[in-house]
């Protein structure tokens, strides 16, 4: 680590919304970054970490956000007072940025080579062949394969990981002193994330770049940061070297935040409470066939996608089965088949012993009641035009319960999920994301189901809220004996809530067994890769210290 004068100095930065009644988004933030150092800004949504990065780039949306006071000095130049022309040359030359969504951060209608070329065009006086050579060179540096082909490709022809490599290449093109990375791996799968983090680290070491890294994921902080700043509601709560902040946090907020991070080590196994099988899936198969319709013969032949391919499992009363996998593994398709939102193309689904695979939609109604679903995004799973009460009673009244009875039951359920009873007359938009997810859980429970399918049910929530919702699910399961099929991409969450785990990859079942075994001592190569790639796996958040090497969960109990 070099210790020259800092590359970036942010002093007492205050950002407010513009308008008659300004509200404060950033409240006197100060930090510095030295050359070759990585500073992580970590915080939950609404903490102001992204606004900090935009302000540093001079990209605060005009007419919406204004930097009221303070200064941002980059290489001796104040970004906030720089002339537009000066700002243009600061960007690109002295600082560059990588964004969260590699899918949308590249212009879809220009070839990626051209998008890098125009950076050189703008900021240097190199000739065409020189620029091309430089772009190809940077492509090599970020380990892109077949650089000539990539140069001429359009973004949609590349994978998410490749696109993020392109973004990094673009950022490094002019060898900036400061690289700002705003959640650069959040949209990526865990194995890709692992590679991208490694790449950023490697390039930083080679070029001595200062990195401002923004993330909400404590695991990523462990893997990448030298120093860390914890942000909360626009204020800088705590900062310091990563070991110090994570190891002995001083502020209550930091402590709470760290305590909420689920451990990668599987929780102790629970005793089976019942032997009753509530959900049984045998050799389930779902093939999406793209070519249908009268004019089929005129279309390009598309090979059918086997989204779910020969998957079997058994779920017993009161147990939780986790289905884990990266995007495209078919885990959500599996959930939708089990719910009969889509019709599987093969295999059997038995809910409480009753075969529902081939029932036509009209005859499904009696069985729908037994199996309910909680969706990923609580903003979309509740009808915005219906009160909480109307949403809660809709299901029961469809099955003949009287309105009064259903409402009384709805009030009980709201209490059960920890919401005030008067919530029943309010609309979803009056609640926070976590509260909405509680309402969605109450709605599922109103049907008195035997199985709940939770499809990434906590993925959209901040880590502290996520912990609360997981605890709630756990308590409800203990009390009501409901079985849960828990779909997730997050191994930490799976380790903490599941009795059994099923690992999927490209529609196929890779490994299936008790959580302690699958996540503790994985047999399949792919499961091992997943575990290796999990961010922050070297740190034990509960203990506030690095994990002891080769920890075996079986020995722990």
């Amino acid at each position: 680590m070099m210790t020259d004068a800092p590359i970036l100095e942010v002093e007492e930065l205050v950002v407010e919304t513009s308008g008659r009644k300004p509200s404060r988004i950033l409240d006197a933030i100060s930090f510095t970054i030295n050359a070759g150092e990585t500073l992580c800004l970590v915080g939950e949504s609404g903490s102001g970490k992204s606004v900090t990065s935009l302000a540093t780039m001079g990209l605060l949306p005009p007419g919406a956000l204004v930097a009221q006071s303070g200064c941002i000095r980059l290489a001796g130049e104040d970004v906030l007072t720089a002339t537009p022309a000066k700002l243009l040359s600061l960007r690109g030359r002295h600082m560059a940025m990588i964004f969260q969504e590699p899918m949308t951060a590249l212009n879809p209608v220009l070839s990626v080579g051209r998008q890098l070329d125009e950076v050189l065009c703008q900021h240097t006086s190199q000739t065409g062949p020189q620029r091309r050579a430089r772009v190809l060179e940077v492509f090599e540096q970020v380990h892109l394969p077949d650089v000539e082909r990539i140069y001429a490709s359009y973004p949609h022809q590349l994978s998410g990981g490749q696109r993020q490599r392109i973004m990094i290449a673009m950022a490094l093109l002019l060898k900036p002193q400061l690289l700002i990375a705003d959640e650069p791996t959040t949209a990526l799968d865990v194995t890709t994330q692992h590679q991208i983090l490694a790449l950023i680290k490697q390039l930083q070491r080679e070029h001595g770049t200062a990195v401002l890294f923004i993330t909400h994921d404590m695991g990523v902080v462990v893997d990448i940061a030298d120093r860390v700043c914890v942000m909360h509601h626009g204020q800088l709560v705590e900062s310091g070297p990563v070991d110090q902040v994570l190891g002995s946090p001083q502020e209550a907020y930091t402590q709470r935040l760290l305590a909420a991070v689920p451990s990668l080590l599987p929780r102790p196994p629970r005793e089976a409470t019942s032997n009753k099988t509530v959900l049984e899936v045998q050799s389930l198969e779902k093939v999406f066939n793209a070519n249908q319709g009268v004019l089929r013969w005129l279309r390009k032949p598309v090979t059918p996608t086997r989204a779910v391919d020969d998957v079997s499992f058994v779920l017993k009363r009161g147990r939780t089965l986790g289905v884990v996998g990266e995007s495209g593994s078919g885990k959500s398709t599996l959930a939708r088949c089990v719910m009969r939102l889509i019709t599987p193309t093969g295999g059997n689904i038995r809910v409480s012993g009753k075969q529902i695979t081939e029932l036509p939609k009209s005859m499904l109604k009696p069985h729908r009641k037994r199996i309910q679903m909680i969706f990923q995004d609580p903003n979309r799973s509740l009808n915005p035009r219906m009160t909480v009460g109307q949403s809660l009673i809709e299901g029961p009244t469809n099955y003949g319960t009287s309105r009064r009875e259903a409402l009384a039951r709805g009030r009980e359920l709201l209490e059960l999920v920890g919401l005030p009873v008067d919530a029943i007359d309010r609309y979803p938009h009056q609640f926070s994301g976590g509260q909405r997810q509680r309402i969605a859980i109450a709605r599922a429970l109103a049907m008195e189901p035997e199985v709940i399918v939770a499809d990434e049910a906590v993925s959209a929530l901040d880590v502290s809220v996520q912990a609360q919702v997981l605890t709630l699910l756990h308590e409800i399961q203990l009390r009501l004996g409901i079985a849960v099929l828990f779909i997730t991409h997050d191994l930490r969450v799976a380790a903490q809530i599941c009795d059994d785990v099923l690992v999927m990859q490209r529609g196929r079942l890779i490994e299936y067994g008790p959580a302690a075994q699958v996540l503790g001592q994985p047999e399949a190569e792919y499961t091992r890769q997943l575990m290796e790639a999990a961010p922050g796996r070297g740190w034990d958040f509960a203990a506030g210290a690095p994990v002891k090497p080769r920890f075996s969960p079986v020995e722990a109990h």
Binding site: T17, P61, A64, L341, N379, R380, S381, L382, N398
Partner: protein, 297 residues
């Protein structure tokens, strides 16, 4: 393809900055909306109180008083048949507003159920949308004048003729909203709770179409008034025995170079009327769809 649908139902609570921005969209100046409301209220009052406001029989021919200039007897002068222009314009407001309101309400009433069904049932959709595509391929004015030319030119046939090309627009709008909304998790949740299809359509899918329909309704109202005027202007509208702004201008055409006011006054009122309805439509859209406000205001 670009996903350029509006997101009325989602109120997406995006992460961080985008959420912040969505709350900060600026508002249209209230003054414009207010002025549009006042103008429209005035025009509606004129239509309602026409018999008291007019000082001549709008139909009374008087060859002796042809093309009189403005004066105390004939406030805006007379037309080529000696009829009082002011009284004719006052009565003309009735036709325009009836046509506008009537067409807007009926085309929404017909288009809404068709769009709901088309959005939900795929086989019906295929058939219905081909028919709608066919109707949309015929330019509205051509279709309308063809219909009017084949039937007697009464207020009803004119309204039907204007309505036919508007209905496909409503059906498409409703259908696209239904297609977008049925992908929402709350609709799937309702299916999983055993909600029947009619209830699903009515309680979960229909409400999301209402806000854009109200906006579309005002635009249809404005465009119907415009089309009626054009039909009358071309001589394919309501019979000349009923004074309408289009008729007045149509009859004034020949004498335009001699006496521009024959076209001017009716044109001014017509434009003001359509403009204020369009402006109210814009305001309605801003109020009902905060996301669109940033786009179109």
């Amino acid at each position: 393809m670009h996903a350029s649908h509006s997101h009325l139902t989602l109120a997406p609570e995006g992460r961080g900055v985008s959420r912040l921005l969505s709350r900060l969209s600026q508002t249209r100046p209230r003054g414009v909306t207010l002025a549009a409301g006042v103008v429209l209220t005035l025009i509606i009052s004129v239509a309602l109180f026409a018999p008291w406001l007019a000082n001549h029989d709008p139909l009374a021919l008087s060859p002796a008083d042809r093309l009189k200039p403005m004066g105390s007897e004939f406030w805006l002068g007379t037309d080529p048949y000696g009829r009082d222009l002011y009284s004719r314009i006052v009565y003309g407001a009735r036709v325009s507003l009836t046509v506008g309101l009537g067409v807007a309400v009926t085309s929404v009433a017909i288009g809404l159920p068709l769009g709901l069904l088309a959005g939900y049932f795929r086989t019906l959709d295929a058939v219905l949308m081909r028919i709608m595509d066919g109707l949309m391929a015929i330019p509205g004015i051509l279709l309308a004048i063809a219909i009017v030319s084949l039937t007697s030119a009464s207020l009803w046939t004119v309204m039907i003729a204007i309505m036919v090309p508007e209905i496909p627009q409503v059906v498409r709008l409703v259908r696209s909203r239904v297609l977008a909304t049925r992908e929402e998790a709350f609709v799937e949740a309702a299916i999983l709770m055993g909600t029947s299809t009619p209830r699903l359509l009515w309680r979960h899918l229909m409400p999301s179409t209402l806000a854009p329909l109200i906006v579309q309704g005002t635009y249809i109202c404005a465009s119907a008034i415009l089309t009626e005027a054009i039909l009358s202007f071309l001589g394919a509208g309501i019979g000349t025995e009923t004074p309408s702004w289009g008729n007045i201008m149509s009859e004034g055409r020949v004498y335009f170079q001699l006496k521009p006011s024959l076209i001017f006054w009716a044109g001014l009122l017509l434009s003001a009327c359509i403009l204020s309805i369009n402006l109210l439509g814009d305001s309605a859209r801003d109020a009902l769809d905060p996301k669109m406000k940033r786009r179109m205001s």
